[in-house]
Symmetry: D2
Subunit: 130 residues, 4 copies
């Protein structure tokens, strides 16, 4: 099993939410969430927390891809379109990486590529001193 799949298989909440690992690599990840009634909010659309969690799963995979534990310290999400059905996809790309802090942009899209949300996150990494 590759290290990223192994890392992802330990993410219990991502599984609770029905999130699957599609692919990942250095500073990169792509995940998928199948939508059912358990993901909806009181307005009948996919819950903002579910969309955030999908983005966060991609962010966690990408930021932990360098072999050094990375803890999320903050994240920002903008929603541009309500999603009523799935699947939804999230793709994380690394924007910057230094020994302590790194930043990622994650795009969430719908089944036809429509833009659902954009997410930006920062992690703190305890890189050992050389």
């Amino acid at each position: 099993m590759d290290p990223q799949s192994d890392f992802f298989s330990g993410d219990a909440f991502a599984r609770t939410c029905g999130i699957e690992h599609i692919e990942s690599g250095n500073g990169y990840a792509r995940v998928k969430m199948t939508i059912n009634e358990s993901h909806l909010n009181s307005h009948g659309t996919v819950h903002g927390g579910a969309i955030f969690t999908l983005a966060d799963a991609a962010f966690a995979l990408a930021s932990n891809s360098h072999g050094i534990p990375a803890a999320a310290i903050n994240a920002h999400i903008s929603y541009m379109k309500a999603a009523v059905s799935g699947p939804l996809y999230a793709e994380a790309d690394e924007f910057s990486l230094n020994p302590r802090l790194a930043t990622y942009t994650v795009k969430v899209t719908g089944k036809n590529g429509e833009k659902i949300a954009i997410f930006q996150g920062m992690v703190y990494r305890k890189t050992p001193k050389p």
Copy 2:
């Protein structure tokens, strides 16, 4: 049943996450999440998506408390302490309200009141013209 409880009972994803409505009123809400293994991430602490969803549930209740549907358009969260057990609480307060846009601050705390995260969110409301 009071309108807020009714609104909350329609939030399927909040129930999926084990979130309960404690109290809410005009521009205000307080919710609770019991933590079990399904909420953990790959580091063994409560998943950032679960913490965000708890804050988001309080934000949704507070922002929809005025009888006009409010859709989240963006949110920002800062995490200050990993949570390893629960319950966790989130409390939302309205900072500003105008016919189209309103903003909320949500504090997430642990069972002993320790600060876990702070969240800021904005909603768009389609208030009918008078």
Copy 3:
């Protein structure tokens, strides 16, 4: 004079900060800030407010490029490297556009292309109904 240069020439605070318009088009803009001692903070590096203002100038140009007034409603910035000299550049790209809300990502870089900050902003636009 093209409409964007005209728009920019009305931005008094951007001029106060020494910001110049390089180019812009539909949903896009690129600006530059020459750095001198007036831009520094108490640590002797370029002030976060100056870096934000540079990003904001690109955001304003890009979001107002469609001929409909766009008002910033929120913005998020992450800083990855202190800047000690200039010039600095900011480049804004539109991520999403709908009649009421639009989102932009702005990258701030140094003279050698080094990443200084990443900014995400949302505007509210009063698009007339057809």
Copy 4:
């Protein structure tokens, strides 16, 4: 001269923007910005970058109040009302403080106390190990 005034007097960009230090203490600060034409944007209202810089000045004072240099790593601002005249005030309060990371909430208000913006910022601090 008290240490905070001394710190503030080194902030060249805050002076460029006409920002004054009113008061500050442990994890707290209050600043003021007199508004003139140099602060306006292309819409004739106070520039988002000027409002951000005012909030940032309060954030810098509050986060550097403990005697350990604090560098801003990210900030989020929501604007709720355009400001057309001044003065404007910003008040920063510490929400959390640990050896490496600390968070602050800053409220920006107008001359009659009207809410203009809310800001949330995080700093990284190199606290020496004991």
